[in-house]
Symmetry: C3
Subunit: 349 residues, 3 copies
Amino acid sequence: MFPLNQWYVAGFASELQDKPLARVLLNHPVVMFRTADGGVAALEDRCCHRSVPLSCGTLDGGGIRCGYHGLLYAASGQCIEIPGQTKIPGKAKVAAYPAVVRNGVIWIWFGEQPGVQPDTQPPELAAHEDARYRYKTGAFHYKAPYQLIHDNLLDLSHVGYLHGKTIGGNPKVHMEAPTIVSGDEEHVRVVRWMKASTPPATYTSAWPFKGLVDRWQEIEFHTTHLHIFTGAVEAGAEPLENPQRGGFHMRGFHGITPETANTSHYFWSMASSSHPEQPDNIDVVYQQTEQTFEEDRVLIEAQYQNMRQFDGAAIIDIHVDAGANRARRIIATQIAAQLSDQASAHVAA
Amino acid sequence: MFPLNQWYVAGFASELQDKPLARVLLNHPVVMFRTADGGVAALEDRCCHRSVPLSCGTLDGGGIRCGYHGLLYAASGQCIEIPGQTKIPGKAKVAAYPAVVRNGVIWIWFGEQPGVQPDTQPPELAAHEDARYRYKTGAFHYKAPYQLIHDNLLDLSHVGYLHGKTIGGNPKVHMEAPTIVSGDEEHVRVVRWMKASTPPATYTSAWPFKGLVDRWQEIEFHTTHLHIFTGAVEAGAEPLENPQRGGFHMRGFHGITPETANTSHYFWSMASSSHPEQPDNIDVVYQQTEQTFEEDRVLIEAQYQNMRQFDGAAIIDIHVDAGANRARRIIATQIAAQLSDQASAHVAA
Amino acid sequence: MFPLNQWYVAGFASELQDKPLARVLLNHPVVMFRTADGGVAALEDRCCHRSVPLSCGTLDGGGIRCGYHGLLYAASGQCIEIPGQTKIPGKAKVAAYPAVVRNGVIWIWFGEQPGVQPDTQPPELAAHEDARYRYKTGAFHYKAPYQLIHDNLLDLSHVGYLHGKTIGGNPKVHMEAPTIVSGDEEHVRVVRWMKASTPPATYTSAWPFKGLVDRWQEIEFHTTHLHIFTGAVEAGAEPLENPQRGGFHMRGFHGITPETANTSHYFWSMASSSHPEQPDNIDVVYQQTEQTFEEDRVLIEAQYQNMRQFDGAAIIDIHVDAGANRARRIIATQIAAQLSDQASAHVAA
């Protein structure tokens, strides 16, 4: 079971081209495509006739046509044409999921009550519209459950050991950095500062740092995605308390969407600021970020395989786990509430 | 469970060369080879000593010798030599299945009563012996159950959507063609005419059609195989009612043999007539047929994967399903009768 | 269940380099590495923090450091450093298995009582230290259970049918060679002589045999490994009864270690004597031995697949099975005793 009544990332708007976009999201095979009005449709990826994936078909006038016998579906999921047959049975339809494009991201809603429309808009992704930044997007497929990726992103103390070639730095400086964890019933916030530290490879590749830097990591966890604001200024140049501080900014967006209980989609974007001397640093930032996230993927998949191999083995907590454990409690509470809702509905029925 | 007391296609005679031919048929691993009298033997593919596949061994004087310790088996399945040992235990034997080569096709019998010989000959495949035609054979392995292939072959309305590059044509013409479905307890017959229609690519590649054609599709379903007679004459040139009509003929043979409950063998041949101007059209007919059947395989495997993904999801029927549904009822009745036979045997025992 | 209280081969000392060596042995994922004193450590391959394989980490001062958050483990399995944290919880440790390097082989002990040290030394492998011989090592991974490899090695009658290109020879000579099987509760010994026989390809490649040879095979089975001493002298040159006889010697060591119930490690070495005319014959002996063992692997994996396909099918014994069946009885007795020990412990508890 996954947290429902949530907007999940289903992909990027740039993926909506002249072919259907097929993806399994929260165990639901979904086909997505541009509608006639420029929006996005997200349908159950199954023709109601003989169960062929609609994504094997073709886009046709804002709808989608099955590639086997030509049944045509509207963005609502209703079948609106059966070639060679006048009458269209009432049952000739498939599920449609609420879906919206915002700031270049496709968001999809999976609710506890199928068919009920969400009462909120998808989250805003301000960095995609911020004139100070340029950004690029990427995606990874993980053979691991989504919460292991949350754990990884909420605990950046690991970057020294795992990402020494890119965003790392001295491992001990990372492990010993003071960490402030806060949050509420729906969010977690983790802030770490590493003052007067040596800038890592990604930073010196993207910004003309001359010496030591004051470096920060600000992680903001939401159930379906995280925002991570990292960066640095030259040591002592500006107070890190200043929200308008300059320097080198990396604003990462991380949409973690379960594919199944054991596999995940990781949709991400990285936006960065640039220095007048290095105006085109987004390419190097992107390349190094992709390499960093690939290192995470390899390790987390190995971790998950090992968890299965050692099924049920005890684990211990250390000081870096506070943020990740807090996020796990939020999701556990959300799932417990859903189970309670299901039980109530069962009694009422 | 599969329909038994049937001749199934096990392959083509051309496959019987100087090495054993191994294939799983109706869940039975079988090894086939030429016997000394030019016939074919079909044995359980397992040495009775230590279970090594006999197909890892060698052919020896019309029998087969295990590649591990040299046990030699006759075509009857009896072990007739154990090197280094005089006595051959009575239990030293493996199952033998009735098998016959006819018209270049290897047929194998799986009966309800193991060891009972069939009381019928395998079906005739007249097109392989017809002087008007030349033919070629092919085989596909399907990751899908055999009845999905029946569905596909009994409903050629799909060729417009799926096979536009070869035997298709205007999809709507196909979907709207009048279809006559008939049959009895063991057969289904589906006939469709598309008069004054544009000939598809395969037809114009193989025959010098100048304009519109009168086109036919005649499908004949048997439990283990189908004959499909398609073709065309120039529009108005000859009545399609005439069984001796000329024009371009394609006579397809489709042996659909379950490998397991979820995988299938598709053994096929395509025979075609030729025009004096294009005497060597069999190569282009074969190439386009193979491409067509590959398109079917890709779609049907995607269909089956989706059926598993949406396990138990409801489907609806449309007008094109009459023939396929009739074939499914025949097989359901045959399997029900077998279950009844089993229950009776159990009570009697 | 596997025989316990045994030294199993875990690999070769030459594999212990500057990276962790990871391997699943008897269902246990194990990481191995050189200790500061030149010995070998074998730990449970799992960080106690978040279950990442320790083998994804780095070697550090005779210990191993996790690649995720830098926890450092001693050869004892105890965690001795958690970066950024002063206190190390008592539970911060992983299992350590007794392991020893002897004669270039890494041996590991899996006991009935975890944590109890073995009261024996690992077996000696004299051929690795014998000045008459040179040797090379190899390893195969088998998708088959370990006892099928025992069966193969205890019955060399198969070499004529399976290994005709290397160590085979006339198959019937092998199948008809007199075989003497002996042993006790822990060992099996199989001796076969093939006097005045044609030397096989491997022998004539490695030794200047001119005519027929007197050939021997002496197999010695232990629960976790076999020694196989084969060779030949020119026919009539020396009595095969003489333990100090000369001629061409091949001394094979075969460490058969279950990976899981259905997969195995096959660690082997081949030592051979050389003739003054062919002092460098070890390369050809090694190449031909590797080819021979690969032929075995392919056949045994096919055998195992077939055993699964024909689950539970009856098998018959022939004259060559005496040694292998005796070894299977030894292992069955050892496992029965373990089950009895477990039941007793359960009653006592």
